[in-house]
Point group: C2
């Protein structure tokens, strides 16, 4: 699928309204915001809204609120994880230093809620505020869980809870906010919530898969980074449950070892193959479920959301 | 003056509702929040509300939203400034490490807007959201200005703009939010805004003065910390404009010198005396102005706000 260029342009124009100053703080805030992100979240908000409405101007403040939150979390996460690069570019704290990077994240956070306050309908603004602030709490809790996982091997249930919060919460919020802005009724909102839950899950799984079998240039980081950093992805957790003792030992030996060679990574990916297949099958199943929940909507109007569900598990970056 | 214990207790009870989990992230978020802050901001919101209303339950979510924002900024500021202590206790990042401290601030930020979404009136919630998100932007911009001041000597105008944003914005928001929650009319809101602007200014000036002539134990940090850190306070800026060349040189020599002795600090404070007097006079004048703006309110009801204006410039911590 191709993202609608008109919608993407509208989103970027609206985003610029919130960061139109030209000093160190604002430049730091814009560094990642305009570094070529996919805009999946605000796009989800807009196309969910378009299930029932056509005038997209009205949904833009709500859509960019979600994107601003997403970008604040990336800036702060990169500091916490001490990552040097994102999307193939140096991270904000590498360019501007940690203090300004913390503050740039804080500024985008404020701008997100300023965007919510620009929604031209008190009742809808109030609803969006509820959804977005709750999602922000979840994202923090999910990030804390992820950091805790560095110290032990989580169960599959714990892993799923973590990604539901860390990655899923904001994707769900993007869809829910689109539904609120589009005047969806209770039944429609419920169906969209189920849809969103599933694509939130598949989004993270595809990220985990791309880390192992993606193209270094497209994903903007070396293949196997998660292995070197010892990340407990769904693939690793599944492998540790299913591998024989010999292969399990091999996996545990390289997990979190920053000095392993590309050759060793290749061998590990071979060992992980059944778990990658497991993850791919899970994604396919969840994508079908997600699309089924859309059946209550108009066939033509729901197509973009169906395509998006497919895109998420087929994307190569 | 004495803060009303019942109001303070109500504020603390409401705050606890937002952080009632017991894991590392939440404990880090509570570390500073319950470390003996004065609660001036939520108290301002409540007593402004009480100019016209009596049922304080309704204003509590709005009041704690302001306090939660205040605490997030303190946690992040302490990381940016690399401060080890606040209120005589180790800072959050010293106890929990930087990653969790960043995240604890982010969580309180989210909880603040969650609190706004708990205001039981859509229209008021919307108004509060506008005021609070705008204040959050100002606070970030003010903090960035303050950090820039490390590299040059700001003019008095620049200094005043910085503290209006960094310190004043949230104190002003506290009062404005109280006015919105209390159904103040346009005229009343305008008067309260003028009141708040002035106490925002005097609050920061008194902080600057206490750093020089306060009691180490009460202010929770060594006397003259601002001098050692090279902070350009209103007192320093005034002194640099008014001192003779000899004393100006002495001041510039110690400013930002972390190794100066207590004796040298004493000598500098002596030199700064006329500028401290200037700052004190300015505070007195602004406090009178602030109180004059309250004259349109009922005599008995406005007394707490009058007393608060006095308290701010008389407080010893």
């Amino acid at each position: 699928m191709q993202f609608d260029k008109y919608i993407l342009q509208k989103i970027d124009e609206e985003l610029k309204n919130y960061v139109n100053k030209d000093d160190k703080l604002y430049n730091a805030s814009k560094h990642l915001l305009f570094a070529g992100g996919k805009r999946i979240r605000p796009y989800l908000t807009v196309v969910t809204y378009m299930l029932k409405k056509d005038d997209i101007e009205k949904v833009l403040p709500a859509a960019v609120a979600v994107e601003l939150i997403h970008n604040y979390t990336l800036i702060h996460d990169d500091i916490m994880d001490n990552d040097d690069e994102r999307r193939g570019k140096p991270t904000v704290h590498k360019v501007y230093g940690e203090p300004i990077a913390i503050l740039a994240g804080d500024l985008l956070y404020a701008k997100a809620f300023e965007a919510v306050s620009k929604i031209n309908n008190e009742k809808k603004s109030y609803e969006v505020l509820k959804i977005l602030s709750k999602a922000c709490v979840d994202v923090c809790e999910g990030q804390a869980m992820d950091m805790e996982f560095e110290n032990y091997f989580p169960s599959m249930e714990e892993y799923l809870e973590m990604i539901r919060k860390k990655t899923g919460a904001l994707l769900e919020a993007a869809v829910e906010i689109g539904a609120v802005m589009g005047d969806c009724n209770e039944e429609e909102r419920k169906a969209l919530k189920e849809y969103a839950k599933r694509i939130g899950l598949t989004f993270q799984i595809q990220d985990d898969i791309l880390d192992l079998i993606g193209d270094k240039k497209k994903i903007g980081k070396p293949v196997g980074s998660d292995i070197r950093e010892g990340k407990k992805t769904i693939i690793v957790i599944h492998a540790l449950k299913t591998l024989d003792e010999d292969n399990k030992k091999k996996l545990l030996n390289v997990l979190g070892n920053k000095n392993i060679s590309d050759e060793e990574i290749k061998e590990i990916i071979e060992i992980l193959k059944p778990s990658i297949d497991y993850a791919k099958n899970l994604m396919k199943q969840k994508t079908e479920e997600a699309k089924n929940y859309l059946k209550i909507f108009d066939k033509d109007r729901r197509k973009v959301l169906e395509d998006l569900a497919d895109f998420i598990i087929e994307r190569i970056y």
